[in-house]
Symmetry: D2
Subunit: 255 residues, 4 copies
């Protein structure tokens, strides 16, 4: 079709291709989810249904983007790690962040009532997104460690805070005051000595967050026997130490 005289405005679009040979992370973050979780009566300190819905939305992203080799989620955020050599959307930063963010949001609303069957969200939930580049394997590991350390710190705090309220009868202000200046050891001690809770036996999904990776899984064949099929699996494991990376060394290797 004929081009209009207005076509020149396309030249104002900037080229935002990411530096080659770097890890590309797209992280989505819930917008105003403190308020959203309160208004939707998320259970405190953790709502398994809400976390599962986050994981479901992340699965949709990972099914769509074959070059995402690992995703990590906790609380109201999810990070998607694209292989260093990905050519998805020609590595254009905005294309990657908006497509991932839109699909994640879409799936979150779409699958909502599989996790909250008796209700509908009160309003459309929103996630923002960003693209960040990490040049080295150490950098991408440190990025993921940063998010998992954040998960640990926040979850220990929230678990103690809400236990003081729900089981200890404190007001939120009293609980906040009691926790002010405490270290990890102090919070573990409060949980154990006052409430008999061993934090280290709390569910791993809460303490570690969720890692999504692709694994070859044997699937049964109609005529008997099995064959290996790549599937996305959810794991709740430590990704700060070396063990995970030693046993999953393929993740950091250019294929």
């Amino acid at each position: 079709m004929a081009k209009s005289k207005f076509e020149y405005v396309r030249l104002f679009e900037a080229d935002d291709r990411c530096l080659p040979n770097t890890w590309i992370v797209v992280r989505v973050d819930g917008k105003g989810f403190h308020k959203f979780s309160t208004e939707h009566e998320y259970e405190k300190p953790n709502d398994i249904k809400a976390l599962s819905l986050m994981n479901r939305a992340a699965m949709s992203v990972m099914e769509e983007f074959k070059d995402v080799c690992l995703a990590y989620g906790q609380s109201d955020e999810y990070s998607f790690v694209f292989r260093k050599e990905t050519q998805a959307y020609s590595r254009r930063s905005a294309k990657l962040s908006t497509n991932v963010c839109s699909l994640f949001t879409s799936a979150f609303v779409y699958y909502w009532n599989e996790y909250f069957p008796t209700s509908k969200p009160r309003y459309p939930p929103v996630f923002d997104g960003r693209t960040v580049l990490y040049p080295s394997n150490q950098n991408i590991r440190d990025y993921l460690s940063w998010r998992q350390a954040d998960c640990h710190i926040n979850n220990l705090y929230n678990t103690t805070f809400w236990t003081l309220i729900l089981k200890g009868g404190l007001t939120p202000a009293e609980a906040e005051s009691k926790l002010k200046g405490t270290l990890s050891g102090d919070k573990n001690e409060i949980l154990f000595s006052q409430f008999g809770i061993n934090y280290n036996t709390e569910p791993e999904m809460l303490r570690k967050g969720t890692v999504l990776v692709r694994r070859k899984i044997p699937v049964a064949l109609p005529n008997g026997g099995t064959r290996e099929k790549s599937q996305i699996v959810q794991e709740h494991v430590d990704i700060i130490g070396d063990e995970f990376w030693n046993t999953n060394s393929h993740l950091l290797t250019v294929t």
Copy 2:
């Protein structure tokens, strides 16, 4: 809370603030909507319900972002024009594009069954987003003219194409062949002489797309009388010529 030794990875996030004193457009575009519209049995050549749902999603964006002074939508795309002087998200490009794109997507799924009450989408729909800067008033007008000219060209083509099929009994291949190389006048002639259709009397929403602007609307007060209230209204008008801009000169003025 204590910062972890991994915090340094935050320094890898780039500063992507938009040049000050320029119009910021965020455009969202349906991803794979040719396929999506077929799989969801959108009426051809236009599905009023689907366009209305697009408009509904755009209303959500405009309600949230007070600095969007005008939005323009057609087909599976919507452009949101932020005031030149907006400081929303400190003018960070990715924040703007992902928030707008996520909210648009979320509202599209959220309000789906107000427009398609008997069904649910077969899978989560996705929109991508981009941020583009336009320095001058002429540039932003030309951008919007580009999109409306695109609407006109595509809608005239699609209307003729589908009329040849649905009323003329042609196959899609025959219709495509017949339209190859035709100009606007040729298509108008086919519609009129063969099918008695005057294209210029087709609904304006289809021919012009939809403009969203804020207008002061008188609202009734409980005790009688009225007061003016700002409301977002949908208009299906020409925005290529000068008339719209003369009567809405405030849109291009820094407030």
Copy 3:
């Protein structure tokens, strides 16, 4: 010639084209010129030879880059304003800043001994460069006003400071102490009442800096008569107020 297997590294070069339809300013700044001026015994508070050499170097830039419509210099810095619509180096930011900066530096060293005939610089002088975009005519005028206001503030200070030392017999520390917290009016008063100097009659090159523009100048023809020829001229005039811009309105008009 055959391409080597290493050619792929070219893909790591980023596209840095400037937004269309914006004023492009390249500013060069002397690096460590406080030290440089001392080591080369620049006269205080102003060295006419040094400023003239700066102007000579700027002339070289403007002769080379036809799309520089105006340049403004003061102290150890020079700003080059490219027309909004320039396509020089495809508007690539680094190409513009490095070419301008290199030519300016080269000419500064090259013409040094036309201004300092008895000596050679003690070491190679360096200027850094940067590219900044300004969308509107008001923005580019404000940019130039900012530099000229800076010239005024610094020159009034330096003139008073050095007069107190050279004519008043103060030490630098005493002069600095005396000027601390003074306003413009105070400095004018010190110059006038203590030294009989009317600052407003100081040379305009010092108070206003130097503006380079192209003017049609009549040149004599061999056979008698004249014809107009475009030449770069140096002016020492106010560019903050409207007068300059009213009489040079072509500078801000797209050609």
Copy 4:
């Protein structure tokens, strides 16, 4: 001093800091040096004086920028490799490229008559500059290999081309025609069989270009004995193969 109302224009300067933990290369390239070398009667195919002046200018850059761990030059270009972890100029791209480019240019003019004592350049020579990022050690090695391969290809061509003219009596057009489509082996053969020249015994500076690195050199002490001192040395060695990198492994190691 008081800030003027024009200060806001500073906000239009973009943040252009380079991604952390990546190699930063600043490459300077002669602008129009084909013409420049002809007008200054550079000897063909290579002018040792001109190459030595390039090396001298590069030495100035490396003396100033302690974080340049290696520089590589050939023909009218020089590449400066900043350590991955450099914080020079806060890694701001334009600051790095313009400072390096300006100093290189300045030194080139400044030291000109140490190499061309009987003349002065006919006009100020210009070099452009660019900043490119390379994430991995392999990438930076491939970048340097690319430049050295370029040196080899061009120098073999130029040597053969000029030998055909200067010793073989061909016109430039005849020489060009004769070399069209030839491979490296063909050119080696022409040189050897027609002119008795073994290309592999040509000076290494011409065949390999120049590598600048810092080496600990023993310097004599006044009272006898020696101590090690870091000095910049020029080497004309292969940097494509592994040997150089094995014996200089510290260059690629974060310190």
